[in-house]
């Protein structure tokens, strides 16, 4: 098997130019200097359109009287691949189950959206949102109140007029 070495064609020193190359380079940079189109996105003022499949920070749907829709069935902590949902269920006088503790650790969450898919009462949803900055780490464990307070829309993967995707 023959070994082949690729010989790069280099211009001879006599045929190369520094000044002309430098001047054409300066013309190029000048063209860019006066070019008004910029690649930088002015982030807080102009936002990127999120994908319709975007899955972000969770939202807990609630009834009109402010109770969470969650019935503490335990499906979402079971299906959660990251094991980031902590649920302690309870039962009230009428026999309705409700979550006593419902916490999502947004650090551990991988935003797969399986909690939303598995929920039988369409209570927990992933949302169209990504600005989650906090000053302390413990603020990233969202409790039930916080999940219900989230005011961003839930993901477009879920259509409220057709809740069970039929």
């Amino acid at each position: 098997m023959a070994i082949s070495v690729k010989l790069m064609h280099r211009p001879e020193p006599e045929s190369t130019s520094y000044l002309r190359a430098a001047l054409s380079g300066m013309a190029l940079t000048f063209k860019h200097m006066v070019n008004p189109t910029k690649v930088t996105q002015q982030y807080p003022e102009e936002m990127t359109d999120l994908s319709p499949r975007w899955r972000g920070t969770h939202v807990m749907e609630q009834h009109a009287d402010g109770r969470p829709k969650c019935v503490a069935c335990g499906l979402c902590p079971t299906v959660c691949p990251a094991n980031c949902i902590r649920l302690v269920g309870g039962e009230d006088d009428q026999g309705n189950r409700y979550p006593i503790v419902y916490e999502i650790d947004e650090f551990r969450c991988i935003f797969c959206g399986m909690c939303q898919e598995v929920c039988p009462v369409e209570a927990i949803h992933v949302g169209r949102h990504f600005e989650n900055a906090e000053y302390t780490r413990d603020r990233f464990v969202y409790d039930l109140d916080r999940l219900m307070e989230q005011d961003h829309p839930s993901t477009l993967l879920w259509d409220p007029s057709d809740p069970s995707s039929e």
């Binding site: 023959a2 010989l7 280099r10 001879e12 006599e14 190369t16 520094y18 190359a21 190029l28 002015q42």
Partner: protein, 433 residues
């Protein structure tokens, strides 16, 4: 009009000191802003635009940040020289501005005020003396840091600045021969008298001066002393906070001063086209020119003339600042040997030869009895233009500063005897034991 004298002169001097120094510092601050903005535009970015309208308060934010940062002193550094170095760099870069006239003389109730801090008779020599002092600060900073990168940066700075100082001084000799004096006010006056700016009759000196000024200010493509890809950041590697800021300010101060110098020496300083703004002190009298029979014509200084000429001066200086920034974000750094080759093999002989050429041309023109004026300048322009074109032609052949790609093709002998490989499959590499 009489020149200002007595107590008002002292007050005017104090005000000029304060005003021009503040102006230079302000321009330096906004040169950093302009650098970041222009570099961003060149790269299709936006640059700093968050602090204040269009980011105009960015230099102030930078200053506050640098003051509040922690000053570090390397344990093995030589403390005294380590602290002395930024001062030694900063001061020469700012004091040089004292001899540069920034506008036409300003008439006041007490007399005419020259718009220059110190119209010293040694002019250009003062500039050269102080600009070469700056190299001491750089070398000292590199040496006192006790850091090998800083030391290499300092060494490179000394070699580079000494090399290009020669070409800088020699390119100025042509100017001095034409202007006949070393004061910068008289240089402006001579350009007004010649009817054209020295950039035309002395075009090659202009080009050599610009190249040397780039090398003297350590700006790309001559930023060997910093060379961040090779030497971390060169001579100021160990500096932090305000001491680093002092190096930064002095770099931009050198840029501003060099731009103002180039504007003054080669683009007529505050002179604007036309003879309406000509003004010069001649035997204690402010004149705008000479009549046919040689009698001086008195100049009419006015506030609007001062303001307009200052605008012209600012525009020229700003133009050179823009060129500085523009070139920095276009051209890559030279190799070190290219810098030295360009300095000693190209710049030095060219400037020496050019001095001879200009001297001979001036001598011939004087012998032929051509008066110092437009025709005089025109002949010099033609001669210099020819010299410039031939200089460009030879520089452009790429012998001295060819790109890395331009090397003589090396023929590689490749032996193609198929012996070793038998099975067609490479032997698996032995596992590490």
């Amino acid at each position: 009009m009489e020149p200002i004298s007595g107590i008002p002169a002292i007050v005017a001097m104090a005000l000029k000191n304060l005003g021009i120094f503040t102006l230079v510092i302000l321009v330096v601050a906004y040169a950093t802003y302009a650098e970041r903005r222009v570099s961003a535009f060149i790269q299709d970015r936006r640059g700093p635009n968050r602090v204040g309208p269009f980011g105009l308060l960015q230099p102030i934010a930078d200053g506050i940040k640098n003051i509040l940062k922690e000053e570090t002193l390397p344990g093995t550094a030589s403390r005294f020289f380590f602290i002395l170095a930024p001062i030694l760099v900063l001061v020469p870069s700012l004091v040089t501005f004292a001899v540069i006239p920034i506008a036409a003389p300003l008439p006041t109730r007490w007399g005419v005020v020259d718009m220059i801090i110190a119209d010293v008779p040694i002019g250009i020599l003062y500039v050269l003396a102080f600009s070469s002092l700056a190299v001491y600060g750089v070398v000292l900073g590199g040496w006192a840091s006790n850091n090998k990168y800083a030391f290499l940066g300092g060494l490179r700075a000394s070699a580079q600045m000494v090399s290009y100082e020669v070409a800088l001084g020699l390119s100025l000799i042509a100017v001095l021969m034409l202007a006949g004096n070393v004061t910068l006010t008289e240089m402006v006056w001579q350009q007004q008298q010649l009817g054209m700016w020295f950039a035309f009759p002395l075009s090659l000196a202009f080009i050599l001066f610009v190249i040397s000024a780039f090398a003297e200010t350590n700006r790309l493509p001559f930023d060997m002393p910093e060379a961040e890809s090779e030497l971390v950041t060169g001579y100021h590697t160990e500096y932090s906070a305000m001491k680093f800021s002092a190096f930064m300010i002095s770099e931009f101060g050198h840029m501003v001063t060099a731009s103002a110098l180039m504007a003054t020496i080669f683009l007529g300083g505050w002179d604007l086209p036309g003879t309406w703004d000509n003004a010069f002190w001649y035997n204690g009298q402010l004149i705008s020119g000479f009549a046919e029979n040689g009698t001086p014509i008195a100049a009419q200084p006015a506030v609007w003339k001062t303001l307009l000429t200052f605008g012209g001066f600012a525009a020229k200086t700003g133009f050179f600042l823009l060129v500085y920034i523009w070139i920095r974000w276009t051209l890559p750094r030279f190799r070190y040997d290219q810098v030295m080759a360009l300095g000693w093999k190209v710049m030095l002989p060219t400037s020496l030869g050019y001095v001879m050429l200009v001297a001979m041309t001036i001598l011939v023109l004087d012998e032929l009895g051509v008066q110092y004026g437009f025709l005089f300048g025109l002949v010099l322009t033609a001669v210099s233009g020819a010299a410039t074109l031939s200089f460009m032609f030879f520089l452009d052949r790429g012998r001295t500063i060819a790109g890395a790609g331009a090397q003589r093709t090396q023929k590689v002998e490749v032996k193609t005897t198929p012996t070793a490989v038998v099975s067609g499959r490479a032997e698996p590499a032995p596992a590490g034991d």
